[in-house]
């Protein structure tokens, strides 16, 4: 449901900076259904890639073989993100706050962390430069927090236009897609509000899964069920991917001299 909902946010023709996992699944589902001309860029340097199966890593051979071009990694960030050529960026994180700021660095103190997370990667630049950002995260009180332990990447900073006033070029998080539904920023305060719930998900449970007092949009929507053809496309994609990843690796060594 998260994958399908994320895929729906993508308009055909958009230039997407794709992370691995759920974002990659969502982008490719969109490409295989309503948005065949999405331009997918993975930070490994593959531009315009059209993978037949989903990659496990951000640099699988599948991405290289099906790409329009492969560029050196520095150019992905400089020529595409920094130069303002990316329409949609995807982010996940260990923690998010009510203004969509994200932590993927540490839980606890930076110098003495209780959990050392993987770190920034491309997230700060995606958050800064993409015209819009889609965040995909499971909603729990430990991840949707009142106060981040560390701000790795920015959402709307303190809200109320602070981000735009700081000169930050991108548009910030347009939607946060969770396992309960979709949060969107309030137009003025930019505080994330529950904008849509999945069929069967309850408002009370969504509130309980949030570490701050979650506000609800005036016109709370219900996310429509996935269309059967979209579900079928997703099942096919996942099945192809599982088969491909199950194939054993065999390396032929030259005969010993």
């Amino acid at each position: 449901m998260m994958t399908v909902t994320a895929a729906r946010q993508l308009r055909n023709g958009a230039v997407c900076f794709v992370g691995i996992g759920l974002p990659s699944a969502a982008c490719n589902l969109a490409r295989l259904t309503h948005a065949p001309d999405l331009l997918l860029i993975y930070e490994s340097g593959t531009v315009g890639t059209r993978p037949v199966v989903l990659p496990l890593s951000i640099g699988d051979g599948e991405l290289a073989e099906t790409a329009t071009c492969i560029v050196p990694l520095p150019e992905v960030f400089a020529h595409y993100l920094q130069r303002g050529r990316v329409d949609v960026g995807f982010l996940g994180a260990a923690q998010i706050d009510r203004f969509g700021n994200l932590n993927s660095t540490v839980i606890g103190d930076y110098s003495h962390p209780s959990v050392r997370l993987p770190g920034a990667g491309g997230a700060p630049e995606i958050a800064t430069y993409a015209r819009e950002v889609l965040v995909i995260m499971k909603q729990t009180p430990r991840s949707f927090v009142e106060r981040l332990d560390f701000r790795t990447s920015c959402g709307y900073l303190g809200g109320g236009g602070e981000r735009a006033a700081s000169g930050c070029p991108g548009g910030g998080p347009k939607a946060v897609i969770t396992d309960f539904g979709v949060l969107r920023p309030h137009p003025d305060t930019q505080e994330l509000e529950l904008a849509a719930l999945y069929p069967g998900a309850s408002l009370a449970a969504a509130r309980a899964a949030t570490g701050w007092a979650l506000k609800v949009a005036a016109d709370l929507e219900s996310v429509p069920l996935p269309e059967p053809e979209v579900l079928a496309a997703l099942r096919d994609l996942n099945a192809r991917t599982e088969r491909a990843h199950a194939a054993p690796i065999h390396i032929t060594l030259p005969l010993a001299p």
């Binding site: 691995i20 930070e43 490994s44 340097g45 593959t46 990659p55 496990l56 890593s57 951000i58 640099g59 699988d60 051979g61 991405l63 290289a64 073989e65 492969i70 050196p72 990694l73 520095p74 960030f77 400089a78 993100l81 920094q82 660095t105 930076y110 110098s111 962390p113 959990v115 050392r116 997370l117 993987p118 770190g119 920034a120 990667g121 491309g122 700060p124 630049e125 958050a127 800064t128 560390f150 701000r151 790795t152 990447s153 920015c154 900073l157 700081s166 000169g167 930050c168 070029p169 990843h245 199950a246 194939a247 054993p248 690796i249 065999h250 390396i251 032929t252 060594l253 030259p254 010993a256």
Partner: protein
Amino acid sequence: MELLPLTEAIAAYVKDGQTVALEGFTHLIPFAAGHEIIRQGRRKLHLVRMTPDLVYDQLIGMGCAERLTFSWGGNPGVGSLHRLRDAVERGWPQPLALTEFTHAEMAVAYQAGASGLTCALMPHHATTDLEAVPGAPVKMLRCPFSGAPLTAVPALIPDVTLLHAQQVDAAGNVLFRGIVGAAKEAAMAARCVLVTVEERVARLNADLNALVLPAAVISAVSIVPGGAYPSYAQGYYPRDNGFYLAWDQIARDRKTFTAWMERHVLGVRDHATLLRTLGVAA
């Protein structure tokens, strides 16, 4: 460029206490070279790599490193690097100091090193706490033309950069094909470049605009088929995603990790033996 067995190349060029970068982004990660560094017991290395990946989890867990410069330290598509975490969170087997960049910062840091510069520039936006952590490597300045705030990123200049590639030709030129990450920049930045390759050929199977490192910029090449496994070599073998998933369990526990390393790295003579032991090569 000299053609050397990997054991001799590591013995000759990689020394305790050096700044060492093993690059290759997901693709062409020089695992065999990393394992040989472990086998030869190098210590106090300053390891540099955008995405530490399993090979740095192994180097760190085996006590080879005292500092890590990096921009994303996870098991791609799987989760944590448990040995990296154990070193940072609990100092096992020894404390690990961190110098932390974003991908974009680290890319320009290599570019600066490759270009004979002491630093590189990026537009500055006050969006991340990273620039304020203790020992943060970057500094702020202003564009002398526009007055716009800029981030200055110090150049990365490894003592040794180790890479894996597909082919070396008779003259010692090396071909990289597929996803290249920041391999070229890391190589051109380094004082010394070592490369392992899948095979030696009379003439590279290279397009006019292929990424080829000329022999003149390389110190030594070692022929190590499968040298990127469990990462991959485009046109030779795919990534062993199953191994990356399995590593999560192996590395989670100090004892299973140590046992695995003793059996599969310390306990084998070379990479070909490791591949046979794992059943990946016949």
